[in-house]
Symmetry: C2
Subunit: 533 residues, 2 copies
């Protein structure tokens, strides 16, 4: 016997509060709810199995506001309790398109004139904004001349299913392309493993006659996201090592946000790599130095003792917020030093820039795809995944759309997205005209109008464990395809030399129907595993 | 970009409270402490690396009082930040003694007359106590006749170092033998892996000239506790499967406490086994049934649908508290049904009984060891690990000791332990006379006096992450050797047939010097890894 009994204290406890993640993604305090047991009572075993699986496998979010010197509490990431159906052929199709998606964005990033034209209005109108900051970094790099022509990127292309008729026919539509700091890979792998474990158990418990008509393990696609990202970063590291044979030890640097609550989506990558160190964005200038040959030098101990490493690859998991480029923390200088260096960037600043919504919109305009992918046999298939998008800029077409979008009848089928990369801050349907009426017209160019992807009416109700509740009801899912590419930027012209280009994994998230955003960290979306049908 | 910035909120936050584990092992609320950053500032990287490692590998304790329907927060188990020195030859020696320790306790458990004599006073004086409850279960099993002669046990023998002179010479002394529900194996393995990771990184960062004089990875012993326990339970399962070839699917049942905060020390064993189900102690009679041939039958779904399993092995991780045997929950009936069944018990009720302190005391009296281990060449070595122990019973020697113990000058070198199994509830040194003066003399037989093991003065200060603080100062460690044995109980006589008998792993815990108890779950002890010297 080595454990004391740990039954909950019998007296009523009104004082302690439960830390959770609020709707703004921040830890909040919420009173214990006596109804909780009732909510859970219908599926007590499944829910408790899932809670314990997440805890024992570290698929958690830190409750950073409750951190003390010696410990930090954490709670399970949002998950779906059952795998959610997804058509097998579209899952395969999405993966098969990834090399073309990668190539499209690589080529867009290399065509500087095209890219500048797309981003120009944003750069000129907001010189301290994110886009202008990144463009400024790029211009300075171009002036200094590049010492590293190899770049790489870990990207994620997100898709939803669009109902194309009333009979259940669906097609695959791209929500967005994340070209910078794509997250969720490690959690996605863990939750996929959890669903395999749950299904294996369920099948083992069934009467043999029933098992044949049930979903099988083969209906859950395999997932090795973490090992794939580790292999991808290692490939870049190996190229750098061959480029610079100077006997100095090399390491990968993961640039991270301070007090990050989502380290469970970063640390497994670090653990898998031979030599990878984390450096917080704000500490970059103090901890990493540019050597005489523009090599990046890093000393893990920080104390003047021990080895100095030369950074082979800069892997960004920070640097996506406009505030990170503020004067106060020398933000632009941080990015500039890293980009000027001869390290391989994952990704470089131009691949970051093509992740903006305005670029996604521009790529969807006629003949652009044909221009960037002249030899691809997938042009039509890629185009097929695009939905209607409109810039609200000051071009004649843009001005036309501005008028059109203020009509509630038109707006109801659209979503208004700020011209940033990633999700969030979107305005949906009927809220668009009111929102635009409150924004000065000279700032409308900062938004892109995108047709809403209306998913098919769900057949199975879902069951989701969110930070707030056990949700049971209709759900909507989003598939993310992870891609990796490595390329050599041409000295002149527009032809990159593609060194690696592949789909390396997937993420899958599910949310309650009727909730607009898919963000897991904001408490809506839940990691899930597709049940291929 | 898929993560929002998550900097701590700038406004002061007085409302949220931080869940931690209080000194009673219960979750408590404690205000955020502004001094925390200062405390941490000397070793920020090491502490943050450890916090993240525990979180991402699931070496956590549940904060059960803060559980809601959809999630449960958790925080890292207590750990030492550096491996703590331990003599290599004594580590090896402790492991080599384990088969003899296992055999000693097996033989004591089989010698019913001897065991009854040791426990008689406790059984007779407190008929609803733990010992009487267990003995009653055994008597009823004996009357019913046993259908399963194979038993097994996963045990843990705990040792401390005793300073034998002023020059640093030390010897190995046994603190106790845990024969029931031995815990800590999974955490111990995880923390050992963590220390290997930390050391590998530290060595990789050092200048090459320095690495040769540093501790090496070979100084950290390997640990595969979880796989070893899984293999041990599987071996018992396989024996049962060969015994009862009836075509019914078989499973292992892990009997667990409700609302257990330490599931991270149980679940990994379940995940490793092919078919293992958890059943809470209080649910046993509702979920498990005794069939006509005294086979234990279990249906995982509990709904009447799906397969019914026959239980091969009952693995106890509950049933060590006297309260668990109370009338209210039918406690004795729970244990009786499990013990009466033809399942293999891990361990059986008599192996449970020999874990009492009074048995440890009796085994240390002259000529007992020679009687139980007549053929062992390790008798002297086993005896060498025993420390002076005295029963406070009503025998002439016991009465003598009672008088002696009330003298503070004598008591100061002893610890008074209740005749239960496991640690905790101990009275130390000068507190003993006062304590005894408050206990009616007729209850003194419930305690055993044991000489304190005075460890050598520590050479290196330790650094511990406890639930309360980052402790830096002198520390004391305790080595646990995990053993597994499987034996066939003789129909007559005292010769068990030993089927398996081995050391299968180790645990290592470190606490601040001056703190009496080693309990990790109560917030004192910290999981650690020996640095073999």
């Amino acid at each position: 016997m080595t454990q004391p009994s740990y039954a909950p204290s019998p007296e009523p406890h009104t004082e302690p509060v439960m830390p959770g993640l609020g709707s703004d993604g921040h830890a909040v305090a919420a009173g214990l709810n006596d109804d909780d047991e009732d909510e859970e009572s219908t599926h007590p075993r499944l829910v408790s199995d899932i809670k314990d699986y997440l805890l024992t496998h570290g698929h958690l979010l830190k409750l950073v506001r409750f951190e003390t010197a010696s410990r930090v509490p954490a709670a399970g990431v949002n998950v779906s309790c059952h795998p959610t159906r997804f058509p097998r052929h579209l899952f395969t199709h999405a993966k098969s398109l990834q090399p073309s998606m990668n190539e499209l964005y690589i080529r867009a990033s290399i065509d500087e004139n095209w890219l500048y034209n797309v981003l120009k209005q944003e750069i000129e109108s907001d010189p301290v904004g994110l886009v202008a900051s990144l463009w400024d970094v790029w211009v300075k790099c171009r002036e200094a001349g590049t010492l590293q022509r190899v770049a790489c990127g870990i990207v994620r292309s997100d898709y939803m299913l669009l109902a194309t008729d009333d009979k259940g026919d669906v097609s695959l539509k791209q929500v967005e392309m994340n070209t910078f700091s794509a997250a969720g890979a490690c959690h996605a792998e863990g939750v996929a493993s959890m669903h395999r474990w749950l299904m294996r158990r369920r099948l083992a418990e069934m009467d043999d006659a029933d098992t044949s008509i049930q979903p099988q393990l083969g209906d859950l696609p395999s997932n090795a996201n973490t090992a794939s990202i580790v292999a991808s970063l290692s490939a870049a590291h190996n190229i750098y090592q061959r480029q610079f044979l100077n006997g100095r030890p090399k390491c990968i640097i993961m640039i991270v946000q301070p007090e990050n609550f989502n380290i469970a989506d970063e640390r497994p990558i670090e653990y898998g790599l031979f030599a990878c160190y984390r450096c917080e964005w704000r500490d970059v200038l103090a901890r990493i130095h540019l050597g005489p040959d523009r090599e990046l030098l890093f000393q893990p101990s920080g104390s003047g003792e021990g080895k100095t490493f030369e950074v082979s690859v800069v892997y960004y998991r920070a640097g996506y917020d406009a505030e990170e480029y503020s004067e106060g923390i020398g933000g632009r200088g941080i990015r500039l030093m890293l980009e000027l260096s001869r390290a391989i960037k994952c990704p470089d600043v131009k691949m970051h820039l093509v992740g903006m919504k305005s670029v996604q919109c521009a790529l969807a305009t006629p003949r652009v795809l044909e221009r960037f992918l002249p030899d691809s046999r997938h042009v039509d298939e890629v185009k097929e995944t695009f939905v209607e998008m409109h810039a609200l800029d000051s071009s004649p077409a843009g001005l036309e759309m501005r008028k059109w979008a203020t009509n509630p009848e038109n707006a109801v089928n659209f979503v208004l997205k700020p011209n940033l990369e990633g999700g969030g801050h979107n305005i949906f349907g009927k809220d668009i005209p009111t929102f635009l009426s409150e924004v000065p017209a000279k700032e409308w160019h900062r938004y892109t109008l995108m047709r809403l992807i209306t998913p098919p009416a769900g057949t199975d109700p879902g069951m989701l464990l969110t930070s707030e509740e056990v949700y049971e009801g209709p759900v909507v899912s989003e598939l993310g395809v992870l891609g990796f590419a490595m390329w050599r930027v041409p000295i002149q012209g527009s032809e990159p030399e593609i060194l690696k280009n592949e789909a390396i994994g997937w993420t899958y998230k599910t949310k309650p129907e009727g909730v607009d955003e898919m963000s897991v960290v904001k408490g809506y979306g839940c990691f899930d595993c597709p049940l291929l049908t």
